[in-house]
C-alpha cells in the first residue's frame, strides 16, 4: 500500500470496501475521505484497491489452504457436536443446511425449497428434488427427519439440544416434505434451521470418521487436531458450485505464526487475527483484511441477586463509569462497534438503532455510587483471558474508578475452568457471548427469568411475556416493535454491561476473491469454502 497515507489501516480499507458494496460511487467515497481529512489522490488509489477486491469475476480451479485458530483431538465431523470454528468450517464444506443466512442476515433456502407455516407452530419443509449425497444417495424426507431428531437424543451429546427441544414432532409427509410441530409458536424456525448444528446427514449415520453430506466438497482426509483435505464435489446441486478444486483446513493456534504463514504464502487465509497484528499486514501488497461485525461481545455482568448489584444504583454507576469509546478505540483497536448494553448487534435485522449507548460520565457514576453507599468500598471484578479483552476492559474501569474515589480491583483468574467456576457465579465478573442469529435465541438463553445463562439474574415477568408473544408473531412490524422495546428493557434494567460488539478480522491473500462478511461470524459465517476463488 504505497500510495496511501501513513495512518491508513486495514480498518479504513474495510470501511471503504463496505461503502462500495453498499453502492457508494467514487464521488461519495471521495466526499467521505475529504471529510476525514484524507487527500483526493490517496482516495483514488484506495478506491481502486478496495474496488478490485469486490468487483471481480470468479475463477475456477486452484487449491486453497486456510488456517483457523483452534484445533484439537475434539475436532469432529458430527454437526451435532460441532463447537468450534474449525468444526463449523468443515461442516459447511461437507454438508448443507435446510436454510442459511446471507450477508444481510436474511434467510435463504439451501436444501429446502420452502419452509412455511400459517400459525408459526406447524411447519412444512419442502425439499429440493434430486440432491445427491457424496455416496450417491438421493436426499429425501427420512434423512431430514433423522438429522433433526438426533438432536433430541441425549446420548448424541448435541450442542443444539436445548434449541431442538421445542420441536415436539418431526415427521415425514411424503418423500420430499417434512412436518415440524413446535411446542409453542416460533416464527424464527427458518433462521434456527440455519444454525450450523442442523446440517443434514443420511438417515442412520453414526460413523463420523468421514463426512457423507451434500456439500460442495468431499472429505478426503480428516485427522482430528491435525488437518482435513477436501476435493470439489462434481455433483453439487447448486448451479454456482465450488470454484476451488481442493481445499485444506488446518489450525495454527499462535496468532503470530498464523500471520507469518500468510505473509510467506504458506496459507491463503488466516482466520481471526489479533487486531495488534493488522499493523504488520498494512505494509504488504499481497495480503488484505476482511472485517465482519457479527455481534460477539465481552460483557461485564453484575448479579442483581447479591451484593453489590442488589443495590441498583451500583449497576447504574458502573454503566456510566465504563468508557465505551476508549474500549472501542484502544482496547479493541477500532475493530469494534460501541454497544448499548443489550445483546442484539447492528448486524441483526432486529437491532434497535434508536437506543443510544450511555455516555461516559464519571460525575454521574459518583452520584450513583454515593447513593448506593459504596463509594470507596473495595469491589473485585473477576476477569480472565477466557473472556477475550476482559482484563484490559477491567483495567480501563479500574482507572476510571480511581479518579472518582471508587476502589474497583481486577481479580485475574486462569482461563482453564473459568466458565464453570466463575462465569455466572461471581458477583461482578466478565463473560463472552458468541453471536446468535435471532433475538429470541439471545433472550431465551440470556435474559428470560428461567434462562440457563442469565448472567445478571435479571427477572421480569413483563419481559418473559413479551418474549413468548414476539416469538409467535408472524407480523414482522409488530415483532420488530416488541424486540426494540425488549432491547430497551435489557439496556435499562438488566445488570449486563455490553460496551462493544467485537469485529472479527480475517487476513487473506490478495488473490482470494469472493469473501464477504456474514452476520453468523468470520470466514463468511464459516461457509467461505464454496464461495471463494483464487485469482491467478
Amino acid at each position: 500500500m504505497t500510495k496511501t497515507p501513513n495512518n491508513w489501516t486495514g480498518r479504513d480499507d474495510a470501511m471503504v470496501e463496505t461503502m462500495i458494496r453498499g453502492g457508494a460511487s467514487r464521488r461519495d467515497l471521495l466526499k467521505m475521505l475529504m471529510a476525514s481529512g484524507v487527500g483526493a489522490v490517496a482516495g483514488g488509489s484506495v478506491f481502486m484497491r478496495a474496488g478490485a477486491a469486490v468487483a471481480a469475476t470468479p475463477v475456477s480451479g486452484g487449491s486453497l489452504r486456510a488456517a483457523g485458530w483452534s484445533s484439537s483431538t475434539a475436532d469432529t465431523l458430527d454437526p451435532a457436536k460441532a463447537s468450534l470454528s474449525t468444526d463449523y468450517v468443515r461442516c459447511c464444506a461437507f454438508y448443507n443446511r435446510l436454510t442459511f443466512l446471507d450477508e444481510h442476515g436474511q434467510v435463504q433456502m439451501e436444501l429446502a425449497q420452502s419452509v412455511s407455516s400459517d400459525d408459526a407452530q406447524t411447519w412444512e419443509v419442502a425439499l429440493k428434488p434430486g440432491v445427491l449425497f457424496h455416496d450417491g444417495h438421493t436426499l429425501n424426507a427420512d434423512d431430514v427427519v433423522y438429522s433433526l431428531k438426533r438432536h433430541l437424543d441425549e446420548s448424541v451429546g448435541s450442542k443444539a439440544n436445548s434449541i431442538a427441544k421445542q420441536m415436539t414432532e418431526i415427521s415425514k409427509l411424503d418423500d420430499l416434505t417434512v412436518k415440524i410441530v413446535l411446542e409453542t409458536p416460533n416464527a424464527d424456525l427458518p433462521t434456527i434451521l440455519a444454525l450450523h448444528h442442523f446440517m443434514i446427514l443420511v438417515d442412520g449415520t453414526t460413523d463420523f470418521s468421514k463426512a457423507n453430506g451434500t456439500g460442495a466438497f468431499i472429505c478426503e482426509v480428516f485427522e482430528p487436531g491435525v488437518r482435513s483435505i477436501a476435493v470439489k464435489n462434481p455433483n453439487y446441486f447448486k448451479d454456482q458450485g465450488a470454484y476451488l478444486d481442493s481445499f485444506e483446513f488446518i489450525a495454527i493456534t499462535d496468532n503470530n505464526a498464523r500471520v507469518n504463514a500468510l505473509l510467506s504464502n504458506d496459507i491463503q487465509l488466516a482466520a481471526a487475527v489479533n487486531p495488534r497484528s493488522v499493523r504488520m499486514l498494512d505494509g504488504q501488497d499481497h495480503v488484505r483484511t476482511s472485517v465482519s461485525t457479527s455481534g460477539n461481545y465481552t460483557n461485564l455482568n453484575i448479579r442483581l441477586d447479591m451484593e453489590p448489584g442488589a443495590k441498583f444504583d451500583f449497576v447504574e454507576g458502573m454503566k456510566s463509569l465504563i468508557n465505551r469509546e476508549m474500549i472501542q478505540k484502544s482496547v479493541l483497536r477500532g475493530f469494534a462497534e460501541i454497544g448499548n448494553d443489550q445483546p442484539v448487534s447492528s448486524a441483526n435485522r432486529y437491532h434497535n438503532p434508536n437506543l443510544a449507548p450511555r455516555a461516559f460520565d464519571p460525575e454521574k457514576a459518583k452520584y450513583h455510587f454515593e447513593k448506593a453507599g459504596l463509594l470507596g468500598a473495595e469491589i473485585p471484578m473477576v476477569a480472565s483471558d477466557a473472556a477475550g479483552s476482559s482484563i484490559d476492559m477491567a483495567t480501563v474501569m479500574q482507572q476510571a474508578g480511581r479518579d472518582i474515589g471508587m476502589n474497583l480491583s481486577v481479580d485475574r483468574v486462569p482461563s482453564d475452568g473459568y466458565w464453570s467456576n466463575y462465569w455466572l457465579k461471581a458477583p461482578v465478573h466478565f463473560g463472552n457471548i458468541n453471536p446468535r442469529p435471532t433475538p429470541d435465541i439471545l433472550f431465551s438463553l440470556l435474559y428470560s427469568s428461567d434462562a440457563p445463562w442469565n448472567e445478571s439474574h435479571y427477572k421480569s415477568d413483563k419481559f418473559d411475556k413479551m418474549m413468548l408473544e414476539a416469538r409467535g408473531a408472524l407480523d414482522e412490524d409488530k415483532r420488530t416493535a416488541m424486540y426494540w422495546d425488549m432491547q430497551e428493557m435489557i439496556a435499562n434494567e438488566a445488570g449486563t454491561i455490553i460496551p462493544a460488539y467485537i469485529s472479527n478480522v480475517d487476513a487473506v491473500s490478495a488473490k482470494l476473491g469472493g469473501l464477504r462478511p456474514n452476520p453468523l461470524g468470520g470466514m463468511m459465517g464459516y461457509a467461505f469454502a464454496e464461495y471463494v476463488w483464487l485469482n491467478a
Binding site: 489452504r65 488456517a67 484439537s72 483431538t73 475434539a74 475436532d75 469432529t76 457436536k81 463447537s83 437424543d153 441425549e154 446420548s155 448424541v156 451429546g157 448435541s158 450442542k159 443444539a160 439440544n161 436445548s162 470418521s209 485427522e223 482430528p224 487436531g225 491435525v226 488437518r227 485444506e248 488446518i250 489450525a251 495454527i252 493456534t253 499462535d254 503470530n256 505464526a257 507469518n260 504463514a261 505473509l263 510467506s264 504458506d266 496459507i267 482453564d416 475452568g417 466458565w419 464453570s420 467456576n421 440457563p452 445463562w453
Partner: protein, 318 residues
C-alpha cells in the same frame, strides 16, 4: 571384554526401578487428572452442558462407572498392548498417537543428529582450551541462547527466513515433502530452534564435566609426564567424564519428545506434545495416560541408557 556379574545386577536393578516408576507416574497422572475441574462430558458440551445433557452423554460414553475402575481397566488393557479408546472422538488411542509419535521422533531424531555432535565437540574443545578466547565466546553464546526463550528464536527465525527472505516455508507440516531438499527445507527451522536450546545445555554440562576431571591429580600427572593437551583430555580425562556427559545428554534429549510444545505450535507440527495438551484440556483420560506413559518411557529409556554408559565406562563398576 569380560563383564563380571556386578553390572548385570546393576542393570537389572535399573530396569526394575524404571518399571516401578512407570506405575507410580501412571497413578500420579490419574489422580492429578481427577483433580481437574469437570469431566469429558461437561467439557465436550461446553456452555451447552445442562445437567440432563451431561447425564445422557456420560451414560452413552460409559462414564457412569467409577473413575478408578475405568483406570484399572485401562491399565490391564495396557499390559496386553491395548492403549484404549479416546473418549472424545472414539478413535483408538494407538491410532491417534501413532502418526504423531512418528512425527515427534523424526523431529527429535534429526535434532539429536545435529545437536549432539556439535555440542560434544564444542563442549570438549571449550574445556580443552579453558579460559581462551574460544572458550569465552562459547560460554557467552551458550548463556545467551539459554536465556532467550524458544518462542522468540522460533518466531524470529520464521520472520527472517520465511517472511522476509522467503527461503524456507513458515509451516513444517502440510508443505510438500516429496524430495530430500524439501524435507530439509521443512525441517530446517524447527530443528535449528530446538538444536539451539538443547545443545546450549549440553555444551555447558560437557564442559563442566570435562573440566572437573582435568582438575583431578591423575590427569595432572599425565600432563607432567608430557602428554599433549589433546591426548590428556581425550585419552585420560574424557573416559571418566563420560558418565556425567551421558547424563547431561540424556536429560537434554528427553525434553525433545514431550516438551517441544512451543515449537510444535509455532511451526504447526503435529507431534505428541500438542496431543497431550489436547488430551488434558478435554479430560480424555486414556489419551492423557497413554501420552504420559510415552513421555515417561522415553525419559526412563534415555536415563537408563545414560546410566548404562556410566556403569560401563566406569572400570570400578565394570
Amino acid at each position: 571384554m569380560i563383564l563380571s556379574r556386578m553390572p548385570w545386577f546393576l542393570i537389572a536393578q535399573r530396569l526394575g526401578i524404571a518399571l516401578l516408576t512407570l506405575i507410580v507416574v501412571s497413578f500420579a497422572v490419574f489422580f492429578a487428572t481427577e483433580l481437574l475441574p469437570g469431566d469429558v462430558a461437561e467439557i465436550l458440551l461446553g456452555q451447552a452442558a445442562t445437567p440432563e445433557a451431561v447425564a445422557g452423554l456420560r451414560d452413552a460414553m460409559g462414564l457412569d462407572q467409577p473413575a478408578l475402575s475405568r483406570f484399572i481397566g485401562w491399565l490391564i488393557g495396557l499390559l496386553g498392548g491395548d492403549f484404549g479408546t479416546s473418549y472424545v472422538n472414539n478413535m483408538p488411542v494407538a491410532e491417534l498417537i501413532g502418526g504423531r509419535l512418528v512425527n515427534s521422533l523424526k523431529l527429535a531424531g534429526l535434532t539429536t543428529l545435529l545437536a549432539v555432535p556439535v555440542a560434544l565437540t564444542l563442549g570438549i574443545s571449550a574445556a580443552m582450551w579453558r579460559n581462551s578466547i574460544f572458550d569465552r565466546i562459547i560460554s557467552m553464546l551458550t548463556i545467551s541462547v539459554i536465556s532467550v526463550p524458544e518462542f522468540m528464536v522460533a518466531t524470529l527465525s520464521v520472520l527472517i527466513f520465511a517472511v522476509w527472505l522467503d527461503w524456507l516455508p513458515a509451516l513444517s507440516f502440510g508443505v510438500n515433502v516429496d524430495s530430500w531438499s524439501a524435507i530439509l527445507r521443512a525441517y530446517a527451522m524447527p530443528v535449528i530452534t530446538l538444536g539451539f536450546v538443547v545443545s546450549a545445555q549440553m555444551i555447558r554440562m560437557t564442559r563442566a564435566a570435562v573440566i572437573e576431571t582435568i582438575n583431578t591429580p591423575y590427569v595432572e600427572m599425565a600432563l607432567l609426564k608430557g602428554a599433549s593437551r589433546s591426548r590428556m583430555v581425550l585419552r585420560h580425562a574424557l573416559p571418566n567424564a563420560l558418565g556425567p556427559i551421558a547424563n547431561a545428554v540424556a536429560l537434554s534429549l528427553s525434553y525433545l519428545v514431550g516438551g517441544v510444545i512451543i515449537v510444535e505450535t509455532i511451526f504447526n507440527y503435529p507431534g505428541v506434545a500438542k496431543l497431550m495438551l489436547d488430551a488434558v484440556s478435554t479430560r480424555d483420560l486414556p489419551l492423557i495416560q497413554s501420552c504420559a506413559m510415552i513421555f515417561c518411557v522415553s525419559y526412563l529409556l534415555l536415563i537408563t541408557l545414560a546410566d548404562l554408559v556410566a556403569i560401563l565406562s566406569n572400570p570400578r563398576l565394570r
